[in-house]
């Protein structure tokens, strides 16, 4: 039997255009003109606070929410026009445990496949494989009641894969999970990507979006504010890329050096940080994210992050070491050479350089003017 449009392998698997959803009796649109496309095999993350419209968007694509306007297609099938066919192509892992409590874990998988018309022998084989892969084989005959949130989550992912969907929708896949369960889900998502399953996941956790998604769509108030790779989203946020430098002064003036750094092309402003001047602050929130170039930069791990330990100068003596953060207008790596040259011209010694990249949180703040959490 035919199974739905396989697509030509090149066109988008998910295509949403000008999607609008207004719920009954609502005063504003829950989704307000959203457009995006997802390539085959891609992991797309929809990032935004609660109420941003992420779950509604997923609801439309999975035929559970009727759109008010626009179009939404999965593998060329318009989900509003032919929801029955669309349901063959998608699978959903919802936020809440909706496993069938009257059935065992294995039966949950088997019946799901039966609903989707997977032949008996095949569904038995797939269920065994997936239970094994998800570490559920020894609990296959237990009822879902006895499962923790993380385990139920795993069962729901396994269930979703039983009919081999073209697109898997994960709605807040790790909300409320403990760290180990969260990492397990992350691993499974990476596996899915490795085997070419297209995944759309929603999250309000920027780390998760940065960690898992090939591209991230930032949503707020029903609108898609930006959509790009995490690196591209954070690139070019003016003044958000930073370069942190540590310098041994050797008698030269700290003020002169700071002024010199601030006068460099591409430097927005300079802020002394750390031991020598100002309060000991370490690395403030700016570059802390785990993504992009949070860690790299010049020094080995552990070297760059301990500003306080290296300034034993007595209070009375002029500061011998300077730490400063440069807020840049462009790319940080390009600034390393000019900074090094300037420091050398001041007869000071550059001892550490660290690049701080902005996080998705910064992107969100830049787009909406407020913090994500």
């Amino acid at each position: 039997m035919e199974v739905g449009v396989e697509g030509n392998g090149q066109g988008p698997v998910v295509e949403v255009r000008d999607l609008v959803k207004r719920y009954r009796k609502a005063k504003v649109n829950a989704v307000d003109g959203v457009s995006f496309a997802v390539r085959r095999g891609e992991v797309l993350g929809l990032l935004g606070p609660n109420g941003a419209g992420k779950t509604t968007t997923v609801g439309v694509l999975t035929t559970r929410v009727r759109r008010t306007g626009g179009t939404a297609c999965v593998s060329g099938v318009d989900v509003g026009v032919d929801p029955v066919r669309a349901r063959r192509l998608v699978a959903v892992v919802p936020q809440r445990n909706n496993l069938d409590r009257s059935l065992s874990i294995r039966q949950n998988l088997l019946f799901h496949a039966a609903y989707h018309g997977v032949p008996a022998a095949e569904r038995t084989r797939r269920a065994s494989e997936l239970l094994e892969e998800f570490g559920l084989a020894d609990r296959a005959d237990d009822k879902p009641d006895m499962f923790s949130g993380g385990q139920a989550q795993r069962v729901m992912v396994a269930r979703a894969l039983m009919h081999a969907p073209e697109v898997l929708f994960l709605d807040e896949p790790t909300a409320g999970l403990d760290p180990a369960a969260r990492l397990f889900v992350w691993d499974r998502v990476r596996d899915l990507r490795a085997r070419g399953v297209t995944v759309v996941l929603t999250t309000h956790d920027m780390d998760e979006a940065a960690e898992l998604a090939d591209r991230v769509g930032i949503m707020d108030h029903g609108k898609l504010l930006a959509l790009d790779t995490p690196a591209a989203l954070t690139r070019g946020l003016p003044g958000r890329t930073t370069l942190e430098v540590a310098v041994v002064l050797d008698g030269s003036s700290a003020e002169d050096l700071v002024a010199g750094l601030g006068a460099l092309d591409g430097v927005e402003r300079v802020e002394p940080v750390g031991a020598a001047t100002g309060p000991p602050g370490g690395w403030p929130p700016m570059g802390g994210g785990p993504m992009g170039g949070g860690r790299p930069g010049g020094g080995p791990p552990g070297d760059g992050g301990s500003p306080a330990g290296r300034a034993p100068a007595s209070p009375a003596a002029p500061p011998r070491e300077l730490r400063a953060r440069l807020y840049l207008l462009g790319e940080a790596p390009a600034m390393v050479a000019p900074v090094a040259a300037l420091v050398a011209s001041h007869r000071a010694q550059l001892t550490d350089v660290a690049i701080g990249a902005p996080s998705l949180e910064d992107v969100f703040i830049a787009l909406t003017g407020r913090a994500l959490r």
Partner: protein, 273 residues
């Protein structure tokens, strides 16, 4: 936590056979499978109330001389009718309230490749099957409690017709209740709807005998259960005055059509935002 890293499942799409009809049968099979596994519990749940009604009104009161001889012949068809309608009603209403409001278990079936309205129809078909089973179990129970039951061979076709219609009526009304009643009101609603339904359905008295209690006769005429009870009497105890069978059958069919249409609409409203 054992984490197998081998990429096991192939991305190959499984062969998929059949269309919505097959999905419908799979969804129905799930419900039958679950009910079949807890059959004794199910029967105890639905048979106990009619059993006691039959025992107290048909046996105890009769033996004590508080009812006229022959009352059990009036009562028995009414109790079968009551069992069919109430079991059907409970078999759609309760699970739907729980599914839509609390467990969300139904979501997996709403995402199955069949029209959402068909999921609603499946609920009605399944609930009717449960109701049919419960009502049929009342036959041996009637023999056991009362000693004998009226069972004229000529009445069996009408009995079966009315029985099936009664099961469907109950299930369709249950669909409306289960989807229309907000979850926080469910206790109140069941008390306010179920109790009057039990006693205004002409199951404990023949409708035509209410001529002298006109207002109550009008009230009972509004209860679909009345037509099931009266149809049952027409089939099993034709000597007892009853509403003409074709009227009962017609009213039941119309009720099924209207309540199913309304029920599916309400179901769709709950299932799809």
């Amino acid at each position: 936590m054992s984490t197998t890293t081998s990429p096991v499942t192939t991305p190959v799409r499984p062969r998929v056979a059949g269309g919505p009809a097959r999905a419908f049968l799979a969804v129905l099979w799930r419900d039958l499978y679950v009910t079949g596994r807890e059959l004794p519990v199910f029967l105890a749940q639905v048979v106990l109330q009619p059993l006691f009604l039959l025992f107290v009104f048909g046996k105890v009161l009769a033996d004590l001389g508080f009812t006229q001889p022959g009352y059990t012949r009036v009562l028995f068809p009414g109790i079968v009718a009551l069992t069919a309608v109430v079991t059907g009603l409970q078999s759609t209403a309760f699970p739907l309230v729980i599914d839509f409001s609390f467990t969300k278990e139904i979501e997996d079936r709403l995402l199955a490749p069949l029209p959402v309205g068909m999921v609603a129809v499946e609920k009605v078909v399944f609930a009717s099957m449960r109701a049919l089973l419960a009502a049929l179990v009342m036959l041996p129970i009637g023999v056991w409690v009362l000693g004998s039951i009226p069972w004229p061979a000529s009445g069996v076709p009408l009995f079966l017709t009315v029985l099936v219609l009664g099961c469907l009526v109950g299930s369709c009304l249950g669909m409306i209740m289960g989807t229309a009643v907000p979850p926080n009101r469910i206790n109140v609603m069941f008390a306010l709807i179920l109790t009057p339904l039990l006693f205004t359905g002409a199951s404990q008295y023949p409708w035509t005998s209410l001529d002298d209690l006109r207002w109550f006769q009008v009230v009972t005429a509004l209860n679909p259960l009345t037509y099931v009870s009266e149809g049952m009497r027409a089939a099993l105890v034709p000597e007892v005055p009853h509403i003409r069978p074709w009227v009962s059958v017609l009213v039941l069919i119309l009720t099924i059509v209207v309540s199913l249409a309304v029920g599916i609409r309400l179901f769709l409203r709950r299932a799809v935002d």
